[in-house]
Every structure is written in C-alpha cells, then in structure tokens.
C-alpha cells in the first residue's frame, strides 16, 4: 500500500527527474509483484524450482522493462 503511494508520488515527478522516477516506479511495482507472488500466491514455500522460476521471472521482466523504458 505504502509502495503504491510512493510510486504515485514518483509518477507525479516529486523529488527526482522523470527518468529516475520512471525507473523507480517500475522497480517498486516489481517489488510489490514479488510479494504478491511469494506471499499471496504462496510460492515462498513452493518447491524450490517453482520459487526460483518465479523470482527469476520478476528480475528478468523488471530489468527488461527498465531497459526498454530507457535506462
């Protein structure tokens, strides 16, 4: 919840330039997504392969999107 508000603040360009803010917004979104996957979808305690795949997906997609955004 707090992360959503921080993202929203960044989205309004508070504090930083739009570029850094955009990267922060994407990164924060994926931190939230990771927690939804680990704690709501319960992959934290899933068989290790599944947990690793989920974590890898989060990192891979997050980094790819940040690069495409224009890091």
């Amino acid at each position: 919840m707090a992360a959503t508000l921080i993202s929203w603040g960044f989205g309004h360009g508070r504090g930083t330039g739009p570029q850094a803010a955009g990267i922060a917004v994407i990164a924060i979104a994926f931190v939230k997504i990771r927690y939804v996957i680990l704690d709501f979808m319960e992959l934290r305690t899933a068989p290790l392969g599944m947990r690793v795949a989920a974590e890898a997906w989060c990192v891979l997609v997050c980094v790819t999107l940040i690069l495409l955004y224009g890091a």
Binding site: M1, T4, S7, W8, F10, G11, G13, P18, A21, G22, V25, I26, I28, A29, F30, K32, I33, V36, I37, D39, F40, M41, E42, L43, R44, T45, A46, P47, L48, M50, W57, V61, T64, L65, L68, Y69, G70
Partner: protein, 199 residues
C-alpha cells in the same frame, strides 16, 4: 478420497514445500504472465518511438481511478488469501465472508473501470485515437476480461465453501481460484505503473 484435514500441514509450510492449487492452473498462470510480459515490453518499445505522444496521452488518464483500483485489487487479493486460510482451517463462514468481501472490491474495480472508459469515450478518446490509447484499451481491456472471469470465480467460490465440507481436493480447487485472482492483481500492479505512472 483424501481425508478431510489432509492439508493441515499447510498451516506449517516450513515442514514441507508445496505448490498451492492444481498444476493446470499454474500452467495457465505461467502462459498468461508470459503473454502480458511480452505486451508490456512491446508497449515500452513503441513508447520510445513517440515519447511526446505517449506522455501527453498518459497525462489524460485518470490517475485517481487507477490508484483507487490498485488499492481495491490489492485489498481484494488480501481477502482471498484470508479466505484460503479460513478454508484450510475449515471455517466455512469466514471463508464465505472473505470471498464476498473480495468480490465487493472487484465490483468496485469494475464500476470504476467502466466509469473511466465512459469518461474517455465521452471525451472522444477511443481505441484508434492514437497508439498510446490503442495499448491503453487493449491492455486494460484484456485485463478487465480477466477481472470479469475472476469475479465469476469469486462468486462461485463464495458458494462453494459455504457447505463447510473441506476435502483436500476442494481446498486445492479453492487455492487454484485464489492463485488466478492474485495473478489478476499483480498484472494490474504492472499495468498501473506502465500506463498511468511512468513519464
């Protein structure tokens, strides 16, 4: 037939690693998330080609609706997680209430989404207005379809858990439905960031 209560080890997940729900739902979730990941990438790729257009169009989106909808889906997801806990503890009444609360949040999301689309169309902004709005309608539209399917699942679950008979298979079905709903939530988190927030 698995015995009632066979899933009690789920209360102590440290004992045994297990995947909630059925394998099939995870294949579906995996496929869906791959498709959405590609669409997110495509959106950002074409965004770079016309930053000015994408930014001026983004500025017309209703950020307040987007923000409230993010909270609604997160809260809804939390209620569903609580419903699963209740089902594992064989507390039917609590599970019904949690699924209904989750559904109420989803109804709120849908009403806001419809209000948002109405606002856009009234302002003359439709799917072929420009490239940004094409992605906006396509991505949020496909996501909204998932929300509608998820609402059907939540409504079904609220009835499904009401009889209080929780076999291991039944808890598995409940976990599958819940996992689908969490996916709908996390896809929105990404959509909100990419469409509404980044400049």
């Amino acid at each position: 037939m698995p015995e009632v209560g066979q899933l009690s080890h789920a209360a102590n997940p440290a004992v045994e690693r297990r995947l909630p729900g059925e394998a099939g739902i995870w294949i579906m979730i995996f496929g869906d998330m791959m498709v959405f990941s590609i669409m997110f990438g495509v959106f950002l790729f074409y965004r770079r080609a016309d930053l000015a257009l994408f930014e001026s169009s983004r500025a017309h989106l209703n950020q307040t609706f987007g923000l409230i909808n993010t909270f609604l889906l997160l809260t809804s997801s939390w209620f569903v997680a609580m419903a699963v806990q209740a089902a594992r503890a064989h507390r039917a009444r609590a599970a019904v209430i949690m699924f209904r609360l989750a559904l109420a949040c989803a109804v709120g999301f849908s009403l806001l989404k419809i209000a948002e689309y109405t606002q856009k169309v009234r302002a003359g902004i439709v799917i072929n207005s420009n490239d940004f709005y094409m992605y906006y309608y396509m991505l949020t539209g496909i996501h909204f379809l998932h929300v509608l399917i998820g609402m059907g699942v939540l409504a079904f679950m609220a009835n499904y858990v009401a009889d209080g008979k929780f076999s291991a298979i039944k808890v598995g079905h409940i976990e599958s439905g819940a996992s689908f709903w969490h996916m709908v939530d996390l896809l929105w988190i990404a959509l909100f960031a990419l469409l509404y927030l980044i400049r």
